[in-house]
Symmetry: D4
């Protein structure tokens, strides 16, 4: 999407050739940096190879499944964006959010593995929750983290349900429904596993003059 | 169901004549007390009238929608059962559980309106949570209360999703799915709004020699 | 919820006595104004009567189904919040959002009945869309308005699906799913018909120093 | 299906032997051309090999996953059928529709990658939308394209939801529900990913004397 | 919707005052006729009264729940539109389609109560099926009528699932899913009970020069 | 299940060792024949090998995915069981039913590829439909075959939905819902793809003295 | 439906005038008896009044919600049909089945309130289960009765899920799914609450020469 | 989770390196034993190898997919926990429960393959059902076992639905819904296939002083 100096390509459903082609044309159109989301390891290797042939280097983060071309943007967000996630299995989505936030020029604070089953680990982050300008809350299974965090926070919370779980988690629909029904004010939700979309929304909020 | 001295009748789907008839025959069969669940005000008045004609008195709790005949059972449970609920709208289900627990001979502790959006009110009950022998956790909307409470408790938690909520709460299915996917150990779940069923299970646990 | 000077009570599932009681105690605890959401006409009349007995006046908006006690807050939001809605049937939810925004001290711009089937009426609002600091997009049926508006806007869009529609709209689930799957960046979603929740989130964003 | 001079075989769920056999018998029964849908690369190679042994040549389109035997039909449709699609990931379904339309003797206009998030790219096609006799609108994710296009068009729109998307797109059910609930008149919908079915319906409309 | 000389108002979700107001302004803007859909008896009486005060007469069809103002349009469609329906319970939706088709200037042929359980009654209409230019097929329960009719017809079939049925009909979702999965070519589907939408699409097809 | 002389083993979810072991013990317990359902090619080869080592021969039908040990039962059913199916893709389920019926001692008539889109091919079987004692109707996609056949038949119809289809067929749920909502009398339904279960029920009916 | 001497009218969705009219014409066409299903008390009174004016008497069963005109058919079924149901709340559906079976000329045995939670009451009916020619098993809540009965029986079981239950019973969908997944052989299922349809199928089976 | 002397790691969604690392650190923190759940054969081999390098031995149960490090806990539960399951396909979940119970220090009684279709095999276990202190009931397909067992038992039953089944079993959702709607008292339910969670709850109950 044409979003100013930072360009974003949705990598899923595109071949390595299509992706490398779009990156190259964007750079030719004086884009300073390009982010490619949802790149599995195999496709990332293919894209890197094609780009290297054109003298273009791509950094690849296997956890966040993100490809990054060009220099990182100097942080120019007004405050800090806090990314919290419930369990270690939620890391891929949390890191997609965190790395995208950094790519879009935000200072990021990470508080991982603070699921509500261990409430005291979450309460230890209360000051960081109060200092954040925006919070991205990532959780699978029952998706309760968003409500507890929004109850503690006075800033907006962007909630990301993940497909972590099995059986009645219904591929993340259980966490999605929980977050949509949050009893706490100040919560709005994005699609299951959409760390990128939550980061984009949080970054818009963190750059409002 | 033939469960010893305390008899229980599921009032929904039965006419006031059927209910009054079953109560009378149970008392004649030397039942000392009978509990009738899911009695709306109108039907309760009808049943009371029919029973009064036969010299039988019924106490009616309009919040818990319970009809109670005969004397309350002396508390003979081993410990205290704590009933927690998220918001005031969950009261009818929480009181169905609490009054049924008392009817079945349990000491009951009530901690109401402690939804996770106000985590500090819940944390104020930490000692009561640790002292409970069994906990019944009642919540609608996103159903997060069960996970937070189970994280704090070392005793079994019986979780009751309620149909409190609108839109994506899907009549309580959202809270049900959340509780089934709890990231905390020691949680098992009953049907939506089934305060009675949770009380019955908790009472069995609280009477194990 | 305890959120500073403006107090909010969720009116559904509470009796007129409970509501009047909470309002009175809040005013006694020096709250300057109280908002009561989801008040149907009948219950609003009952609450007004009880409050009047205590010398308290409540303004009632039958379209937004909101009860308002105390003086409106001087607009102190940083910019203007634009509320757009697709059709006249979406008005109750759009006005719940708009009046709540005004109650929370925001300048509100309203662009109603601009459903995507008449794209030129929406395009006529392009300047107002670009000038808004935050946008609340309200739509039932297929819920497409959020994507088109977010495509035009460079500010965050809070999307509210409504239960307006019949058959396959599944009580607003169709619009909810569409908004969650928006192909445009900068969209996050609240529960079906939750004009209040969207207004609260938009107001937080519009008051960030 | 027996539909006059152009024969169509649903390739999914049939072995390469069954397909090659049916094609051969159709040609023997003086069919001038045969279309085979839903052929993945591997099966297409197998069918081609078997047919070549019988002196029959098959053209294979890997994007549309279509096998075509015999000469293309001279365009005898009354007007032009416009195929629009939202994003590059929708191409396989859009090309299944476009190539099937050409096979059935229609002049086809293609306007791809005009998703509603970039409304101005769609508005640039307004004249082509007004000139079309029938429009096939292909979109995954939130499926909004059909409503916006039908709002601009005065001809019938056949909407095809695609399974492009993840999480809450529910394999295309979100786009399907959105298109069924379109607020614009003149829209009717076919099954998820059914480019062929939409092309067939559009071709019937474009050949009505 | 602004669709030339015939104006259509969606009556559900609008008050009788709003509807009467819109009708009056349309007539003042030289609309020759106005159609109001989804008018229950009570609201229709209210609208008629308000319009009569302004010297405007409205005809009301209680089965089709349609209000019609102004003279009927001379039939100028190219052929005949056949409306078939499965059972007498489907009549309200079939008549909404048939009367809307007549209002939009189409000659309409009606073949009612020809459900597939009595296949010979349907086969008796085979000639009328072949002569139709477009067919609207209306069925609830298992929604099989659309496939059988499309198998017999060589013209487009617009299928309308109805909410007639109980239990596993899921309010018409069963019939909707069946019609979307039709094994016959030349079928496209509109929303549950949307006789109006099917009529509009069929009328567009029947007026293509 | 202990069902007299014919023993049946549900092959899915069991290892080739478990299956071979159960077959061997059944034969030792004087079972004259054993049927093993849901055997894919690979597992069937493994079971055959193990049984051959013990001098036991197993016949394997790759379409019906059935393993058969011992001699076929002489047909002792009272009449003929007709198995009809809609399309060639439904063959695996139709043949699971037909071969199981033969194994249980029934004369079987097969009328395949008679989907309702080609109603005349089905009507050509009218006499065979009237002569059948029981009918097993197998169909995926929209599942309409059961209603049309039951309308023509005066004997019981056991309907089997299959998972043949894509998108909105929801893995056979669409066909299942259609068959449960059949407008024809004399239809009862088994689980998706359960040719075995339908054959068992039909065989019980065809052996009633 | 035209099914020989006994005529059946589906009363839901038809006015009392339509029903009385159809009954009268059927009797004039020498039908000896007519059954009208799904008649609530109010509509039954209306139909009775209209028929009485034409000298026709209708018997009405308020539990089974059935209207019966003409003399009952002499039992000519080959054996006895056993109707079992789980709880007292399932009576309306069980009696719709039992009275319809009697109307269609079957000897009926009733074993009510034998839910699996009281297995010994069910085991007390083992001999009646073995003697039945066909069994209709009616159950709401978890729908387990059909599997236990089919395990005990050697005759076909027609299973009827009822909408008795609340919350996760999803209006009978839970019982429907359970019965479709029965681990016992010899079970086939009809729509939720369709006592009539089960009776019709059981009667066909009980009249097979 | 910090649960005293026995530590549990959820193995799904973690790499063999992460698991081996957590085990090692737990043992260093004087944990006497560690249980790792949901380990498939391949990953278990990898973990064993890494641990062996550090001189730590892990026992692996391929049916229960459990990794066990350290000595088994002496049984100190107050009574016996009975694990019942319906069919052989349910074994993996039943053994996850049984081995976890043993790991947590409970005496375990196993009654497998006692599905309700063979009620007499279940009745043969009646005394063991009455003697148990807690029962874990594991069943897929229609999930009826929990209700029948709870009807026979006077102790709490923890019900575990499994994903064993096909078609309308919906991956275990059918069994889950059945168990939530159990007509018997004393049943509470855990997530689909969650043998571990049921064992944890049953062990809590079996260790209550
Ligand atoms: N994970 C994601 N989920 C949703 N949208 C995304 C994601 N990653 C990128 N996008 C959006 O997709 C747009 C690019 O789509 P395309 O032009 O098809 O590459 C970007 O502008 C992003 O807004
Ligand atoms: N709210 C409830 N939900 C589920 N089961 C209940 C409820 N209330 C009572 N029951 C059960 O229903 C049984 C009585 O059913 P019945 O014999 O039909 O009155 C009692 O033994 C209870 O186990
Ligand atoms: N495809 C099938 N679907 C459902 N049940 C089956 C199927 N095939 C066999 N069965 C039943 O499973 C029983 C054997 O189960 P088991 O003892 O676990 O092998 C047989 O008696 C059959 O009734
Ligand atoms: N099969 C399972 N399902 C749900 N929770 C589990 C399972 N196995 C282990 N757990 C829980 O997951 C916790 C560990 O999570 P983690 O810290 O991410 O390894 C343990 O304390 C268990 O309570
Ligand atoms: Mg907050
Ligand atoms: Mg705990
Ligand atoms: Mg934007
Ligand atoms: Mg249009
Ligand atoms: Mg056709
Ligand atoms: Mg028939
Ligand atoms: Mg049996
Ligand atoms: Mg019990």
């Amino acid at each position: 999407a044409r979003t100013g100096t930072s360009e974003i390509i949705y990598g899923a459903g595109k071949t390595k050739e299509q992706i490398a082609g779009i990156v190259t044309s964007m750079l030719e159109a004086c884009q300073r940096r390009v982010l490619v989301t949802r790149l599995d390891g195999e496709k990332a290797a293919g894209v890197s190879e094609l780009l290297a042939a054109g003298g273009i280097a791509m950094e690849y983060d296997p956890v966040a499944r993100l490809g990054m071309v060009g220099d990182a943007k100097e942080p120019d967000g007004l405050g800090t964006v806090l990314v919290v996630c419930a369990g270690t299995s939620d890391l891929p989505v949390a890191e997609e959010a965190a790395r995208t936030l950094e790519y879009l020029g935000n200072r990021v604070d990470r508080a991982y593995d603070v699921g509500v089953a261990g409430i005291h680990r979450l309460l230890a982050c209360e000051r960081r929750i109060r200092d954040a300008r925006v919070i991205v809350a990532v959780a699978g299974m029952e998706g309760a983290l968003a409500s507890v965090v929004a109850g503690l926070a006075s800033c907006p919370v962007i909630a990301v349900p993940t497909s972590v779980g099995y059986g009645a988690s219904l591929g993340g629909v259980a966490a999605l429904l929980a977050m949509l029904n949050s009893c706490a004010n100040g919560v709005s939700v994005v699609n299951i596993d959409n760390g990128f979309g939550a980061a984009y929304q949080a970054s818009l909020i963190n750059h409002m003059k």
